[in-house]
């Protein structure tokens, strides 16, 4: 018989569920999920509500074992995978069992899955630091839209804040309807459904120059579309001005 802890999408709820699983002494037969679950006969469902105190105790314990694991767990919980909570939970279970960092245990499937999911978020964050495109609006704010696979707008904000000091900018996750807003000094996350963007007068000129530059700098004798797509997957092209005119 399994005990299934059902939670909402927040990390706090997840850590509370981890706390409950250990408190109920059923960590070996527990599962944590935030999505609809294909239950087996005899499964017991428990709804867990976020409790900051319990979550903080789990985080403190994990930090004592391996302070870098919190970054990995954070990344895992940002992916859209249905098994993300369970992956994170199994990772924690192994951490507590070994009482030492376990990210090197790649011969174990649950660790491989955890490392994979966390690397996915890291990779996408790095990609977006390059592939994001800002447009100058008539009000002087720079606006970039994107539809990342993972929920990571807040991971991008510090990078761009360090770069664009004193320039207000917005990074908009159109899919999740959330936006990172910076006034040039500090930033925050805000829900954002739609954005009406009016380009500044000179924006079109730079868009043309950039597209022209992109087209010219390629060496036609060495066309290698496959490699281009490997490095720059097509799903990111929608918001890149240089990929609008030639979609191949």
């Amino acid at each position: 018989m399994r005990r299934i802890y059902q939670i909402d999408q927040t990390p706090c709820a997840f850590f509370t569920a981890v706390f409950s699983a250990y408190a109920d002494k059923c960590e070996q037969s527990a599962a944590i999920t935030s999505t609809a679950f294909q239950s087996a006969f005899g499964d017991e469902f428990i709804s867990v509500y976020p409790d900051e105190k319990k979550a903080a105790r789990v985080v403190k314990k994990l930090r004592a074992i391996d302070k870098n694991c919190l970054y990995e767990l954070d990344c895992i919980l940002r992916t859209p995978e249905p098994d993300k909570e369970q992956t994170a939970f199994l990772y924690i279970r192994r951490l507590i069992e070994k009482n030492a960092p376990v990210r090197g245990m790649l011969a174990f499937p649950e660790i491989r899955r955890a490392v994979d999911l966390s690397a996915r978020v890291g990779t996408e964050r790095h990609r977006l630091t390059g592939f994001l495109r800002f447009h100058e609006t008539s009000s002087g704010i720079y606006y970039a839209a994107c539809t990342p696979d993972n929920e990571l707008i807040d991971l991008l904000m510090p990078h761009f804040c360090a770069r664009f000091k004193n320039t207000p900018f917005v990074i908009h996750d159109v899919k999740r309807e959330i936006a990172g807003v910076s006034d040039g000094k500090s930033w925050l996350l805000a829900p954002a459904k739609r954005a009406d963007v009016v380009f500044s007068a000179r924006e079109d000129g730079f868009l043309t120059l950039w597209t022209e530059y992109y087209r010219t700098v390629a060496i036609p004798e060495r066309k290698n579309t496959r490699q281009m797509k490997n490095y720059m997957p097509v799903r990111y092209w929608a918001f890149m001005p240089e990929k609008q005119s030639d979609r191949i």
């Binding site: 491989r112 664009f164 010219t216 290698n224």
Partner: protein, 458 residues
């Protein structure tokens, strides 16, 4: 603002420069500035040819007084000429950077009027960019041969990385194809810059008692690079690698770029054919072995010899050194793991980490995404060997592994496919001379490979 037509001409002139990396510098933003550098580098886009765009690669002018035979901008060529003013260029860089199109600027120029005049213009642009526009992004500056030493050093103090292109790997070829360039004019400034950087690093150590952190410091934090054209002159891969090794050791170069020769210019002294991209690829593989795998140039290819085309240089080394293998995955030290064909640095580190917890089997390796199609001939897991003993059969297996790679990326080898001819010429591969066992192996691999082995083509 710069117009489209000029941007096109100046980009066209710069695009054959291979280097476009924005790595190696940790330059920080200033309080009222724009931009910083990322140590690992960031690619902002990828062109149709699969190369990354990280920096805005532009010539300040393509009006050249030099007459290098291979260069599309040489004095005697009949091409449209254009130039851009420092102000115009700064404006463009700032606008592109703010939109996150680029990571910085790659600034180069044809030798306009004189080397000193050109260097002065480059310096002026950099100075404007750093002081007036307060730009703190990445700047890669091309050195102009024969330019004044003081001017060069002042420009270097503002750039993140500088490069002088060796272009041709020997003095004779330089004399023949680039008469205005000399060995001196390229190597001397490289040496001067390397020495200055070393001196400053020493000073820093004396002052603070600590080693200077990689990628910091005021003088060329990202070091120097260079580029060589492969295939325009008769030098062998062995010579090219030896020269690269020398440059890495003596001048602390960060990268040596290779560029397979493309005949943009017709000249009786130059070959009329494009050098195969495969040769360039093999040289880069060898270059990685030099920089990250603890190999020496002599081990990879003796001077006067070329790298084999049918498999990668590490495979070639392994075939020449059967006494080194098999390597036991569960006990071998890192430097031995790194010498296994098909196992990269990432794979080697994964193995090192994972074997602390359990004895690794072939199955574990596969699940850890260690590619075994080459490695399996050279490793044991807990004493178990999963390959074949016959060296000729191993050779066939390695070529087959290469073929299955290239089948996936045929485009990569579009510029002539030397491996194809190697395949039909290689005695080991001809089914007629193959032993029964080899034949079985060939036919049991993927159908495409078996067919290609039978007919000599894919």
């Amino acid at each position: 603002m710069i117009d489209e037509a000029r941007l096109k001409i100046l980009t066209d002139g710069a695009k054959y420069d291979v280097s476009c990396s924005s790595s190696g510098s940790r330059r920080k933003n200033t309080r009222d500035g724009l931009g910083n550098a990322s140590y690992g580098g960031i690619c902002h886009s990828f062109t149709q040819d699969g190369r990354c765009i990280s920096l805005l690669k532009l010539l300040m002018s393509n009006d050249c007084v030099f007459d290098c035979k291979y260069c599309p901008n040489r004095r005697s060529a009949d091409v449209a000429r254009a130039s851009v003013s420092p102000e115009e260029l700064c404006e463009l860089v700032m606008a592109f950077y703010q939109r996150n199109y680029i990571e910085g600027l790659f600034l180069s120029s044809a030798v306009y009027k004189s080397p000193d005049y050109t260097m002065e213009r480059l310096y002026e642009t950099l100075r404007l960019l750093r002081t007036k526009y307060k730009f703190n992004g990445y700047v890669h500056l091309k050195g102009i041969p024969h330019a004044d030493k003081l001017l060069t050093e002042r420009a270097a103090a503002l750039a993140d990385r500088m490069s002088y292109n060796v272009e041709l790997p020997s003095e004779q070829s330089l004399k023949l194809l680039a008469p205005q360039k000399t060995k001196e004019s390229v190597f001397k400034p490289m040496q001067t810059l390397a020495l200055t950087k070393r001196e400053l690093a020493l000073e820093h150590k004396k002052r603070t008692g600590k080693e200077e952190r990689q990628g910091t410091g005021r003088f060329l934090p990202a070091g120097q690079t260079t580029q060589m054209i492969v295939g325009a002159s008769p030098e062998t891969d062995g010579t090219i690698l030896k020269l690269s090794e020398f440059l890495y050791r003596k001048y602390d170069l960060k990268r040596v770029y290779f560029s397979a020769y493309i005949p943009v210019v017709r000249d009786p002294l130059l070959p009329n054919e494009t050098t195969g991209l495969l040769r360039e690829h093999r040289l880069y593989q060898a270059d990685w072995l030099l920089r990250f795998y603890g190999f020496e140039a002599d081990e990879i290819a003796p001077e006067g010899e070329n790298l084999p085309m049918e498999y990668d240089p590490k495979c070639a080394w392994a075939l020449r050194h059967p006494e080194f293998f098999p390597v036991e995955i569960n006990t071998a030290p890192l430097e031995r793991l790194l010498r296994i064909p098909g196992v990269g640095t990432k794979g080697a580190y994964k193995i090192m980490a994972a074997r602390k917890y359990t004895k690794l089997t072939f199955d574990d390796l596969k699940k850890m995404r260690i590619v075994l199609k080459r490695a399996r001939y050279f490793i044991t897991c807990n004493g178990k060997f999963n390959g074949i003993e016959n060296p000729a059969a191993i050779r066939v297996g390695l070529i087959a592994a290469e073929r299955s790679d290239s089948a996936k990326q045929l485009n990569f080898f579009d510029g002539g496919f030397p491996a194809l001819s190697a395949l039909s010429e290689s005695p080991a591969l001809s089914l007629l001379t193959a032993t029964e066992r080899e034949k079985r192996f060939l036919l049991s691999s993927t159908p495409e490979i078996a067919r290609s082995a039978l007919t000599g083509q894919l």
